[in-house]
Structures are given as C-alpha cells and as structure tokens.
C-alpha cells in the first residue's frame, strides 16, 4: 500500500528489515525442509553420514514402511474419522447455538450469553471433567472427544456476532413468505455466512486433526488412538517399539521424519484456504461488536 519512495529511501534500513525477515523465514522453513529431505534419505546415510540436508540417494522406503505398518494406518484412519465426525458435531452445535443467540428478541438470551462467557474465565479442570466423562461411560468412545470439545466459546461468540450482522429486513421478508426458523437458518443465514462457516469448519478441523491430550486421557484402547498419539509414541519409545521390517520395507530413522511429514501434509494442504478466509471471516467477525 505505502510506496517505498514515499517513505524516503534508506538502504541500510531496507537491508536490515529485509534481512531480518528473510532470517525469520529461514528459521521457520529450515526445520520443515530438514524433516522432508531426510525422510527420503536411506538408512546408511542417516546412520553414518553425519550432518546433511540433501541425501545423496533418495528413497521412499520410509513412506512404504509406514503404509504397510498396521499401527500407523489404523491411527491415520482414526484421525480422519475423528476429524470428519468431530468437525460435524462442532459445527452443528456451534452454528445452531450461535444462530439462536444472535436473536436479539430471544428471552433468556442474556443469561445464556453470560453462561458462555463465564466458561472462558473459569472451568472445572481436568479431573472433574474426566470424572463426568467416565460416569457417562464415554471412556474409549470417540464421543468423549466430540462432546467434551463440542463448542469453543470464542468461536461461538464470533459466529454469533457474524449472524447478528445479517440485516434484519432479510429475516422479516423471509418470515412474510412463511419461512420458519429452520428454513431461515439453513437457506438464508448459513449461505450468507459462508466465509464464517468455512473459517470455523477449518479451524475446528485443524483442532480435531491435532487433538492429542484428550485422546490420551479418554481412550485406553490403543487401536482407537489417532495419528498424533502414534507420533508421540513413536518418538518416545525409540526404535524397539517399531517392527524392523514392515512389508517389503525396513525400519530406518527416516520413518520418524516421514510420519511427521504425513501428519503435517493435510494441514499444509488446507492452509491456503484457511489463509484466504481467516482474514475475512476471523477479523471481520471479531471486530464488529
């Protein structure tokens, strides 16, 4: 926006800021680059070559190993399952409640808003929540994950203010035409709020894909663990927990790198969409009261 010349040119200043930004970019990128390139390195090079970024010989052994590893594939599919269903639960709970609370005429609205707000300041904490989940017999069920995190209060509030900004006239016109609240919500309000809906769907999906601690807390059955828990276990227990051979592929330290890459790829794939929307949806919704 601002023109370079309009600010007066000072080479030292420009070089310094540009240089520091380049360095910060490199600091962020280097770990990614290192993990990606070494995930393609053969075992011998990792064990004996010392430090390197680009392998001499590239191999997809590590990816083959993971694809034919039952534990990895199970946890990967579990993560997909949890992300899809969890996000559906998140979005239906959040958008419905946000829509309801956006009605200024609604009796009890103030009390409900306060109820939401207070949970952002104070909570029961890990143990009482765990005891509730346990007494509902949700341990080892994915519903423990979907339900305990069904609504993020902050997302709810931002979405509510987004809905509030839809002109009331639209609602009145629709009602004149005999449109009920459900149709109004599904046919008019949601389509008009697409940027907000897209943003929060992606935010929730990222959150569900990344879920680690709740899975550890509520799921005892290791066949139900999502990818993040697998990743953690793999790093923690060194090599001996992994079989030496999986299918036609042998274990190598690069398997660890490959698993990180696979866990990060979906995030990097949705990232451009996120970026397109989070400026629009996120900031717009939160700035307007």
């Amino acid at each position: 926006m601002r023109r370079f010349n309009a600010r007066g040119s000072q080479p030292i200043f420009t070089v310094l800021t540009t240089g520091m930004l380049l360095v910060s970019m490199l600091i962020v990128l280097f770990p990614f680059l290192y993990v990606v390139t070494t995930s393609f390195a053969p075992r011998e090079e990792i064990v004996s070559r010392g430090f390197f970024v680009f392998p001499h010989r590239w191999t997809i052994n590590a990816y083959g190993y993971l694809m034919s590893n039952r534990q990895f594939m199970t946890s990967f599919l579990n993560a997909v399952h949890i992300t899809v269903l969890g996000t559906i639960v998140n979005m239906s709970f959040t958008s419905l409640m946000a829509y309801g609370l956006s009605k200024r005429w609604l009796k009890g609205r103030k009390a409900l808003n306060l109820m939401v707000l207070f949970t952002m300041l104070f909570g029961g904490g890990i143990i009482p929540t765990y005891l509730v989940v346990k007494s509902l017999h949700l341990i080892d069920s994915y519903w423990s994950l979907y339900l305990t995190g069904a609504i993020a209060p902050f997302h709810l509030i931002v979405m509510r203010s987004f809905f509030q900004n839809i002109p009331l006239e639209l609602e009145e016109a629709a009602r004149m035409d005999g449109c009920g609240e459900w149709r109004l919500f599904g046919r008019i309000v949601l389509p008009l709020s697409l940027p907000a809906v897209a943003t929060f769907t992606l935010f929730y999906a990222v959150q569900n894909w990344n879920a680690y601690f709740n899975a550890v807390l509520y799921l005892n059955d290791s066949d139900k663990w999502p990818l993040q828990v697998f990743l953690r276990q793999m790093m923690n227990e060194a090599n001996d927990s992994m079989e030496n051979v999986s299918g036609a592929f042998e274990y190598s330290p690069s398997v660890k790198m490959a698993a990180i890459v696979i866990a990060a790829v979906p995030l990097i794939a949705v990232y451009p969409f996120l970026q397109k929307y989070f400026n629009k949806g996120m900031l717009m919704g939160s700035v307007k009261g």
Binding site: F4, A6, R7, G8, Q10, F13, T18, L21, S24, M25, V28, Y34, T38, G50, F51, F93, T94, L96, M97, Y99, G100, W105, K107, M115, L121, F122, G123, G124, G125, I126, I127, P128, Y130, L131, V132, S135, L147, T148, A150, I151, E172, W182, V206, W209, N210, Y212, F213, Q228, L231, R232, M235, P253, K256, A259, I260, A263, L267, Y271, L274, L283
Partner: protein, 320 residues
C-alpha cells in the same frame, strides 16, 4: 429494527395483562430457537458446569466407588495440606519463571515482526513472509516437539550431527534440564510469533499514511518514522495484550509442557496443570490434585478479572 422499536413502545404503554400475553407469545415464538440452542446448552451444562460443581471433591476425600455424594467431607484439610506442601513453591516458581521468560522474550517477537513487515514495501515479499511465518501455528504441539527431537536429539539429531562435524561436543538439549526453559520459550516463539503478529498488523493497518508522508517532508529518517509514528500507533494494543498476558501467568500451555517434560527436567518443568494430571489422573489422588487445580483456577480468575479492569483503565487512555 423499526419493528422492534414499535413493539417496545407498544409494550410499555399496554396494560399488564396484555404485556403478559405478549411475553408468553415471545416464549412461544422462541420455541424453534430454544430447540436449536438445546444441544449447545446441554454441552455447557454437562461438560462445563457440572465439572465446576465437581470441584467440591477438593473439600472431600473423594472415593470413586462412593461418588461425589457419599465421599467423606474433609473441609479445608486439602487446602491446609497444599499451603504447607513444598511442591507448591516449586510449582509457583516454575510457572512464574516460565511466564516471565515468555513476557520478556516471546511477547516482543510478534511486535518486532509486525513492525518489520509494515516497513516492507514490496507486497509480494510481505505476503510470502506472512504465509510462511503463520504456518507453524497450525501444527500440533506433538509435531513441533517431534521436529525438535529430530533436530536436537543427542544421538542422531541434525544439530548435534552438525556440532560434531564442526568439532564440538554433542549437547544434551532435550535431556539436560538446564536447556528446558530456553527450549520452551524458543518453541513458543517459533510456533506462535508469526500468528500473534496479525493483531499488531491490524493495528498498523489503521495508521493514516499521511502521517508518514508528513514525516518525510519534515525530513524524518525511517528510524524516526518507526519511533514516532509506528510505535505510538501500537502502544495501546501492546499495553492491552501485555496486561491480558499478565492475567494468564499460570497458563503455560498444558499440552506443550506435558510433551517436553521428562523425569530429568521435572524440577524446572512441572507446572500446575501437569502436576494435576500426573497426580490426579495417573496416580489417582483425585481430591488433592483437584485442590491444586482449584487453587490455580481461582488465582487465574482473580488475575484475569484484575487484568480486565486494568485494560479498561488503560484502554481509555490508550485509544487514539
């Protein structure tokens, strides 16, 4: 809007019986809306408010077989025990040191990034820097910690391989507790400082470009423009966020710390949330660890309320 005003006007002049029937019709009109709110409402009641009620076990000797209702009451015994527990001092010390480091080192990083980004004139360059530095925010702590292990592990970590090939000793970054605090803060900076810069960039987007033009006419160098225009424009945002951060000194990122804790660094790495998890969930001391949790939550609540009050004081002064 118009409808609402008319309705209110009618309501205020109507007799009480009409008003009553009107209010009951408002309830009836709201029925589909209440149905929509119901799932969310139940969520808040069951998973947010009942656990708050569950905090009563801090005043009990909770027995899972007896439940909340039948466990014996112990009054304030757990709190007396907490106040004389040497662990409390350790937890407070660790939390305050880590928070202090966050405030000194992590807090300024996004401000610096935002200032530098706003000084870049080529928008393609600014956008590519932004795209890249926002990215780590979306990675899970598990991935960030795993990447750290891949780079810093003593035996086969990339950085240690590099150190060795340069003729240095290998350093136990991950297992030596001396490096824990630095590791913690650097991971925070790496993951979140880009994303946190957004709010400062938003504050800078509101600066009138004519201010800079006028400064150039007056012969101000780029440094002086940053000092006299950019920094003052950020002042109120910085103050408000700093105060809010102060309100959260005991929240240090539970999952993050849990993932980088190990038996060796526990003395410097243990904070309230991880202590509660280890003693409560893993070892089954439900009541005592809930007491520790209550202690932390109450202090947190008081700090947040104080912080909110303070931001209002500063907010009025700081708004331009």
């Amino acid at each position: 809007m118009r409808m609402e005003i008319k309705e209110e006007a009618v309501e205020s002049t109507a007799s009480s019986s009409v008003a009553r029937s009107r209010s009951s019709s408002a309830w009836i009109r709201g029925i589909p809306i209440y149905v929509m709110i119901l799932p969310g409402f139940l969520y808040f009641v069951i998973f947010r408010y009942i656990p708050m009620g569950g905090l009563v076990i801090a005043f009990q000797e909770y027995d899972p077989f007896l439940g909340f209702l039948n466990s014996p009451w112990t009054g304030l015994d757990n709190f007396h025990r907490l106040l004389t527990d040497p662990d409390l001092g350790m937890l407070l010390r660790n939390s305050l040191i880590l928070s202090g480091l966050n405030l000194i080192l992590f807090f300024p990083a996004p401000i610096l990034l935002a200032i530098m980004l706003s000084e870049v004139s080529r928008s393609w360059f600014r956008k590519s820097v932004q795209t890249i530095i926002y990215m780590p925010h979306f990675l899970s702590w598990v991935i960030v910690v795993n990447i750290t292990v891949v780079l810093f592990a003593t035996q086969d970590g990339g950085i240690n391989n590099l150190l060795e090939s340069l003729g240095f000793q290998r350093i136990e970054f991950l297992t030596d507790s001396h490096y824990f605090r630095a590791l913690y803060v650097l991971q925070n900076i790496w993951k979140e400082s880009g994303w946190s810069a957004i709010i400062f960039l938003a504050a800078l987007a509101g600066v009138n470009p004519m201010l800079y033009e006028a400064a150039v006419v007056d012969g101000a160098s780029r440094w002086r423009q940053v000092w006299h225009i950019t920094l003052p424009a950020l002042k109120s945002t910085v103050i408000i966020l700093f105060i809010l951060r102060l309100g959260q000194v005991l929240d240090l990122g539970f999952e993050h710390i849990l993932l980088i804790q190990n038996p060796v660094n526990l003395g410097v790495a243990d904070v309230f949330d991880t202590y509660v998890y280890r003693n409560g969930v893993l070892q089954g001391n439900f009541s005592y660890s809930t007491t520790v949790g209550v202690f932390k939550s109450v202090i947190g609540l008081v700090l947040i309320m104080l912080a909110n009050r303070l931001t209002k004081v500063f907010g009025q002064e700081g708004v331009y």
